[in-house]
């Protein structure tokens, strides 16, 4: 054998070895890889794709990729396909886009899909990286459900005395939550025919000006409906936020503790009811 021939063989062997390593990398990846050409036909898949979709390689290669897309998502898929081939550039994983794939047994799996262009001898192809997002999705749903549950728990309005409602606000307040609280409180005022409401914000870690503004709206809403409201548990920084807002404090009844607020509520109730003195029922002096 001529020395040049030997060198060529060594070179070919090295190329083979490199190919083998690359193939092993692709095949051992847990991620599903699907290569699709401009016409939408599957050109190549890896073992991860076989596992995810449940099809053998020979069942996928040469077939239209839409068989992996649920019916309802097919029009969206076509738009994405055309957009990619109009300007083949890497697209990030589509997290949060509610993508699903259709497997051989007809079930749907939530996925995240990324696209990158790959040059081949038959033109540009799209390499789709498909990640199973089932676990991800489950965590996301759990977070959503818990947020709703917390919101539900934290909008409890209690009738502590005849015609006196207390809305204890616990945990951080944001604008959405205050809006929800307001609605719940006003509905309850109408249902219970309350006369006085106490909004206790001692359990709120911080009240920024935005939230203070919304709390003011809650109080205004209660006034429009014809009930008196008292804020209790105002901390120094909350007081500061309200002063900074230039809120007309003349109209707002406020007490530092829930206990003091309840005492005030009972006094207001006495006035509202006129002759009937509720403090007699309690046997206490105000």
């Amino acid at each position: 054998m001529a020395p040049s021939e030997k060198a060529a063989r060594r070179a070919a062997k090295a190329v083979d070895e490199e190919l083998r390593i690359y193939r092993a990398m692709v095949e051992s990846s847990p991620v599903a890889l699907v290569m699709v050409n401009r016409e939408g036909a599957v050109v190549q898949v890896n073992a991860g794709a076989e596992r995810l979709f449940g099809y053998g390689r020979d069942e996928l290669v040469g077939e239209d990729v839409v068989r992996l897309v649920p019916d309802r998502l097919r029009s969206g898929h076509e738009v994405q396909h055309d957009r990619f081939f109009a300007d083949p550039a890497p697209r990030p994983l589509g997290a949060g886009r509610n993508l699903y794939v259709l497997t051989k047994d007809g079930s749907e799996i939530p996925v995240e899909v990324g696209l990158s262009p790959v040059e081949t001898s038959e033109g540009v192809c799209a390499l789709a990286t498909v990640v199973d997002a089932t676990a991800h999705k489950a965590v996301e749903e759990l977070v959503h459900r818990q947020r709703d549950e917390i919101a539900e728990l934290s909008t409890r309005v209690m009738e502590v005395w005849d015609d006196i409602l207390v809305l204890p606000v616990v945990g951080p307040l944001d604008v959405t939550r205050v809006a929800r609280l307001t609605e719940a409180l006003l509905m309850r005022i109408a249902d219970d025919e309350a006369a006085v409401v106490i909004i206790d914000i001692s359990g709120v870690p911080a009240v920024d000006p935005d939230v203070a503004q919304h709390l003011l709206k809650t109080i205004q809403g209660a006034h429009i409906m014809g009930v008196e409201s008292i804020i209790s548990g105002v901390k120094p920084d909350t007081a500061q936020a309200m002063v900074d807002l230039g809120i007309d404090l003349g109209r707002i009844k406020s007490r530092s503790t829930l206990r003091a607020a309840l005492r005030l509520a009972l006094r207001i109730l006495t006035e509202v009811r006129g002759t009937m003195d509720v403090t007699d029922e309690l046997g206490m002096t105000l």
Partner: protein, 120 residues
């Protein structure tokens, strides 16, 4: 008295005016006119405006309502707006109309009671 767009009745020295239906701008102005002319005849101590039938309010209606309250005050009587529904209250607040200077009550009955109390 019914038959007009603005039913009203006398309760002792007080006047109970009921707002009803979907009031258009013309009807709102008619309410204003009816109420103020009733107060102008004299002998009215207070007016309860029952808004419990109102499902929606617009800024025009809210402005007129506030104006009526001031007009009645100028004529020497007091007004209580009663029965505003939660959804309407939220709309008013969102429009920046807090009715801060208007006396309110949850129900017309409480409104009448409030008028009686304030007159001693």
């Amino acid at each position: 008295v019914t038959g007009t767009a603005t039913p009203w009745s006398r309760v002792g020295d007080d006047l109970l005016v009921i707002l009803q239906g979907n009031l258009d701008d013309r009807a709102v102005l008619q309410v204003e006119q009816v109420v103020t002319s009733l107060v102008a005849t004299g002998g009215v101590r207070g007016v309860v405006i029952d808004a419990s039938k109102l499902k929606v309010v617009d800024s025009f209606m809210a402005r007129v309502l506030t104006r009526v309250v001031v007009m009645i005050r100028l004529m020497g009587a007091e007004t209580v707006v009663a029965g505003i529904q939660p959804a309407v209250a939220i709309t008013l607040v969102e429009m920046g109309l807090s009715l801060g200077s208007v006396r309110t009550a949850l129900t017309p009955a409480r409104g009448l009671a409030a008028l009686q109390r304030s007159s001693g």
